[in-house]
Amino acid sequence: MKLLIKSGWVVDPANNIDGILDVLIENGKIACLQKDITVKADKIIDASAKIVIPGIVDMHVHLREPGREDKETVASGTQAALKGGVTSLLAMPNTTPAIDSPANVDLLKNIIKKSARCNVFISAAITKSRLGKEITDIAGLKKSEVIAITDDGSSVDDGKIFLKALQKCAKEKMLVIAHCEDKALSKNGVVNLGFISTKLGLRGISRESEYLRIERDIELAQRVKTGLHIAHVSCRESVEIIAKAKKKAVALTCETAPHYFSLSEDDVAGYDTNMKINPPLRAKEDVLAIREGLRSGVIDAIASDHAPHTENEKDIEFDRAEFGKIGLESGLAVCVMELIDKQILSWPELVRKISLNPAKILGINKGRLSVGLEADITILDPNKEFILKKETIVSKSKNSPFIGRKVKGAVEYTILGGKIVYEEAC
């Protein structure tokens, strides 16, 4: 089985490729990248005027299964991923039950085996039931092929317990992903603390609740000399703290999400609950700081923080609505509009943030188009504009803040292990 991608603009920073090339895929693997390949292929994709990139690696996705199959399933979430050009993702462990033991990892693995449509990597909880009290069996989780641990949705408030977890992770060479939030400071908050919370009469979530916890987590990780990845960075101070720490820290990385460089607290006006996100949409100056952090390289990765919720949980009073938004299907388009078109990142730089760096951080052999590797490839039309419609969302939940907005940059093909698994209907 041979698949030939003709005349696309190939962007693969791992191999310093940024130009028009043909890509030949044979038996599911990348066989050859060259100009004007002339072999008889079983299928040829004409990619002229299209961009060909290594499949996106989304390192922050809530698939909700097991437990909340009404919001999303492994099947529906991974189908949404393919539509968004995502070929590998890291599933967050805050399910019901939480992925906090090798037995629960097996449960999830079985679901993935039966229904996943893209590569799903597994993260597990730092503490049992994510309660911040008792550390999980990290050595056992490592053996079960868990590639990162996180209590995402909560921070481990007890510094001593977090330190102990870091020590165990250092020993097991397990990546720790930190959700940084001091809930004593953010308690009952629903929007960014500032003019927006004042204007709307809502309780605010301060920037301190995020960056003070980032400071603590970095300090503790440095003390035990272990790797730390900071999830969903949203404000200026956080970027500054991470920039400073990176100069001396071992293996410190971080991610942001598309909504933090495209939307601001102003978008919450009108009480749109799809704009209710944690950490909250921040001020305009934070949006600029996140963009600058991406440009300068302080922010390593972009991940969707895809957080599906049902209409029953969203179409209610703002205070009562769940936090979070879906993002698998819109992420790439938002990156094209906000980062490429605004000349904050070049294509090779963007591909680093969405494919190569997340793969490196997670230690998985993805995010590059090297000969011999599984052919996970995304082909997109960077100039195609479309309006994001609720009816066309594949994810089970429809809580996208971009519904009704015009976006630019459409995924045309997603190729997984050499097979075309998504093809845009023309």
């Binding site: 004042t198 709307l200 009469g201 809502l202 009108g270 009480y271 179409d315 209610i316 009073e317």
Partner: protein, 318 residues
């Protein structure tokens, strides 16, 4: 009545969205309705055949009764729903409750809700009118409108007035609506509170901020004294009650240093001896009971206009 401006909104959700002309229209409409309450038969047929539903998720006597009286003086039929007796207790969502009321062919929902933004959300889902009777800390537009009506009636013109709002600004929907309304009408607004009750960024609403009560009262043409809701201080943000009276309470001593005819307003209910002394509340500067009377006229105007606005909307969509 103002001939140039016509009312096209089906809802009244807050004063932030309104133009100066729309506020003027409400106030002038209220002026013409005020006389109705002085008649022997206090009724006009303006809303005859219309149904107004008071949907109150928070205990309220004065606002609910004021709306009820206003609706009845316009000959509307009024139904009161309090959450204790409704299916809200059974877990019905706000939108479902609203849709049910709409299905009963009611015309206007007057809603009081403890969550900010609840009225905005409800209005988005319904074709019938929604009037916000106070949502969380967000807005209480009819209270601010009756405050402005009282100012205009007593002092002639709102433009150029110095108005000080004293009290728990952070948690007050009355403060927010007054700030939006007064600044649009050209008044100069000062907010005064202990620093912990000044919400962040409030100065962006074009107000002067002070923690000094003497400074707030100096040159003020009117002071709007907010109720200190000590019973709701779940965040422990409040000073001690006696400390508050000492530092921020409106007392006769403080009145002596202010402009002689400074109006004293209060949205009620009063905490005598906490934010305001009894001598001041019952004194000659106080217009607190006139505010209550004016509330009827203002709410009649609002109910009348939103009903009209909805009819206009239906005409254009047909």
């Amino acid at each position: 009545m103002n001939k140039e401006t016509t009312w096209v909104r089906k809802d009244l959700l807050g004063l932030e969205d309104l133009s100066r002309e729309e506020i003027k229209l409400i106030l002038s409409t209220a002026e013409s309705f005020k006389e109705v309450s002085t008649r022997e038969i206090k009724k006009v047929p303006a809303l005859r055949g219309k149904t107004v539903v008071n949907l109150f998720y928070e205990p309220s006597t004065r606002t609910r009764v004021s709306f009820e009286v206003a609706a009845k003086r316009l000959s509307a039929d009024v139904i009161n729903i309090a959450t204790e007796t409704s299916s809200v207790k059974k877990g019905e969502t706000l939108v479902d409750t609203g849709r049910n009321i709409q299905a009963l062919k009611a015309d206007i929902i007057v809603m009081r809700h403890n969550y900010s933004g609840a009225a905005v959300m409800l209005a988005r889902h319904l074709d019938i009118s929604v009037v916000n009777a106070g949502d969380g800390w967000h807005e209480h537009p009819t209270q601010a409108l009756l405050d402005m009506f009282t100012l205009k009636e007593k002092l002639g013109n709102i433009e150029g007035l110095n108005v000080s709002i004293v009290g728990d600004i952070a948690h007050s929907r009355v403060a927010r609506s007054n700030i939006w309304g007064l600044t649009k009408m050209g008044a100069k607004v000062t907010v005064c509170a202990p620093q912990m009750l000044i919400p962040p960024g409030i100065e962006k609403m074009a107000v002067r901020v002070t923690n000094d009560i003497e400074a707030a009262l100096k040159n003020a043409d009117a002071v709007n004294v907010l109720r200190m809701q000590f019973e709701r201080d779940d965040e422990h943000a409040f000073p001690q009650q006696l400390e508050y009276l000492k530092n921020f309470g409106i007392t006769e001593d403080r009145l002596l240093k202010a402009k002689k005819n400074m109006l004293v307003m209060h949205p009620g209910p009063l905490n005598r001896g906490i934010e305001i002394s009894s001598e001041v509340a019952d004194g000659t500067n106080s217009v607190i009971l006139e505010q209550v009377t004016n509330g009827i006229a203002v709410r009649m105007a609002v109910l009348f206009l939103v009903a009209q606005g909805r009819d206009k909307k239906n005409e254009t969509s047909n």
